[in-house]
């Protein structure tokens, strides 16, 4: 297996274009945590004509609802949640310049099409590896929707955060290709 690709944020479209499904990456920089409730609130804000709490151009959103942090730690266990629940909101954010998402599980056709149109990439982190992934998260700062608790919108500084490209901007979808390669009658 080839060496992982090192990526730093912001994730520009030039960087996105180089990535293809199956690539392993290590991400360093600032990424944002948001899941169901924060997505709903962000899209509702856009519907009202209000700006988002963050400038999401060239940014990565990690779909995560962490466990509480122990004293002296930035965050508790923090593995990915299922991406499909965010599909309804995602194309709006991609149209605004979001270039990367980290989560787990397959995406809708609408999201995959929008990713191709907008040059974005979808990474999978390992579901169930929350303790390992938390070690790669060096800070966690709530930016908006604090009352949502583990579902708040937060900025996180990550170092060598491990993920795999599962859908690229060229139309590749590892959830389809990977299963096809190993299915037997």
């Amino acid at each position: 297996m080839s060496e992982p690709i090192r990526l730093t944020t912001p994730l520009t479209k030039d960087k996105v274009k180089q990535l293809k499904i199956g690539d392993r990456v290590l991400i360093t920089g600032t990424i944002y945590a948001a899941r169901d409730a924060a997505h709903k609130l962000m899209v509702e804000a856009l519907d009202r004509g209000e700006p988002l709490p963050i400038d999401i151009r060239d940014q990565i959103i990690y779909y995560v609802g962490p466990a509480p942090a122990k004293p002296g730690r930035p965050i508790g266990s923090a593995g990915p949640t299922t991406a499909g629940r965010m599909d309804a909101y995602t194309p709006r954010l991609l149209d605004l310049g979001l270039t990367g998402m980290i989560a787990k599980g397959n995406r809708s056709k609408a999201v995959l099409d929008s990713m191709q149109k907008n040059t974005a990439v979808y990474f999978a982190a390992t579901g169930g590896a929350g303790a390992l992934l938390a070690q790669r998260i060096k800070s966690y700062d709530v930016i908006a929707y604090a009352d949502l608790g583990p579902e708040a919108l937060a900025a996180m500084r990550v170092e060598d955060f491990p993920a795999t490209v599962v859908a690229d901007c060229h139309g590749g979808d590892l959830y389809k290709e990977g299963i096809k390669a190993y299915a037997r009658d």
């Binding site: 297996m1 199956g22 392993r24 995560v64 609802g65 962490p66 466990a67 509480p68 942090a69 122990k70 508790g76 266990s77 923090a78 593995g79 949640t81 299922t82 499909g84 787990k104 599980g105 397959n106 999978a124 390992t126 579901g127 169930g128 590896a129 929350g130 303790a131 390992l132 992934l133 938390a134 070690q135 608790g149 583990p150 491990p162 795999t164 599962v166 590892l174 959830y175 290709e177 990977g178 299963i179 096809k180 390669a181 190993y182 299915a183 037997r184 009658d185």
Partner: protein, 281 residues
Amino acid sequence: MREIHVDQIRDAVAELCIKANCLLPEDFFKVLRSSAENEPSPVGRDVLCQLVENAEIAAADMSPICQDTGLAVVFAEVGQDVHIVGGAFEEAVDAGVAKGYTDGYLRKSSVAEPLFERKNTRDNTPAVLHTRLVPGDRLRIKLAPKGAGSENKGALAMLVPADGLEGVKRFVVETVRHAGSSPCPPMVVGVGIGGNMEKACLCAKWACARDINSRNPDPRYAALEEELLELVNKIGTGPQGLGGRTTAFKVNVEFCATHIASLPVAVNINCNAARHAEVEL
């Protein structure tokens, strides 16, 4: 009569919450490691190696294996010669869940009402409690935290006797295929056959929480467990749904008596951290 104080029950449940969520059973570690060696997909192997490393970190740090520390599913077997003193049994179990999830820095994922407000109860109560009255003067408690990614992919089919063994196999395989990447495979699949609607589901849940190396004592059902494992591992889902041969670590089957006109089959899916811990008081 043997007296057990509710405080003892509360503290035992609290400890089980932390233990089950942070410590992967040793047998399960072995299965993880051998799967990491045998999985042909490079991406799949990478995932399995991460899961081994993750479980080691969680154990060393006593932090949860997965941030979705689930609803607390509790199987209690209360000896009929036990006298519970100092308060109510069910309140003691919930007090234990609240204490364990708070003291152990576990995520609270329970909402009080499902449809309108969905307000978090903030202490992960109530437990999903299944109590049986059994002979003896002991109290056995098994706690199996269950996250939503896997729980949401369970299914029930009210088959009829004519559907037979083939119908059962088809339903199990299709349920696992449809689950795809959502339950964080490799999974442990619990299958409950027989009973009625709720009994089949309970059997499936119990099957899910069995030890990884356990087998159904009935050789026909043990053989079915093997065959179903082989069938689901042909689907190709693989670790995390990224393709591979290890879609499930294990299929556990439980059965019970049923109606002459029924063949209920329930499938309950557990994720790659099939967490459970138990204690006897």
